[in-house]
């Protein structure tokens, strides 16, 4: 945990609010890298970011609300218009394509990064309010994260050198 008092250790906190396959990457890449670079890192998982702490992850991407999304196909980049998300199977296909690319390009899986984050002692706070709201219990979650609220996060944030909202 960040203590900020006289210690030279830098610290970073982040609020993780999104739980789709693509949006799960930035928080886990940054937290594991910061921890590897010697920072104390705290992640606060809230709203749609909270399910990233579930034991079994089943992550997807959607073209909806993602107007800049492009996929490399047939040697070019094919745009994925918002509207195609309405066609059954499109999001599933886009998710499968993304997972395939991830594997092919040597990009870590979210499960792998999450494991590395826990190994490198990244502190994880599971938003208690979100757990109540969406009816999750600690039994649904991996071991490690502790339940907490806004004040818990703010206390950490006031002592952190870097605070991110993702």
């Amino acid at each position: 945990m960040a203590d900020g008092s006289g210690s030279n250790t830098k610290s970073m906190s982040m609020i993780v609010t999104k739980g789709s396959l693509d949006w799960a990457y930035p928080p886990f890449i940054l937290s594991t890298t910061a921890a590897a670079m010697g920072l104390d890192v705290t992640m606060f998982f809230t709203f749609y970011g909270l399910p990233l702490l579930k034991k079994k992850l089943d992550l997807h991407v959607t073209t909806l609300g993602n107007p800049a999304m492009q996929m490399p196909m047939f040697g070019m980049h094919i745009g994925m218009p918002n509207l195609v998300s309405a066609i059954p199977g499109v999001d599933a296909a886009a998710s499968a394509m993304m997972k395939n690319l991830i594997k092919k390009k040597g990009v870590a899986s979210i499960e792998e990064l999450r494991e590395l984050a826990l190994e490198s002692e990244v502190s994880m706070i599971a938003c208690q309010m979100t757990m109540d709201l969406f009816e999750y219990t600690t039994d649904d979650m991996i071991e490690g994260p502790v339940p907490g609220g806004a004040a818990t996060y703010i206390e950490t944030a006031t002592k952190s050198d870097i605070n991110l909202f993702i």
């Binding site: 890449i29 890298t33 040597g106």
Partner: protein, 75 residues
Amino acid sequence: MADQLLDVKGLNCPLPILKAKKALKEMPMGATLQVVATDPGAVKDFEAFCRTTGNELVESKAEDKLFTFVIKHTA
């Protein structure tokens, strides 16, 4: 010749850094780690990693799309 070799060919950001950190942690102070990567982003990343952590980047070279780094465990 480095004391230990780490092959991260084919792995993408941030895995080369994470695996290098893991290896350094297990190594005695002063020992050197040679990392071989194919990720072009690793060049700037290993510089930043070493500057921030205080480990010494003894060598960084690019040859035939292979990037080789030698890091001395000093922090």
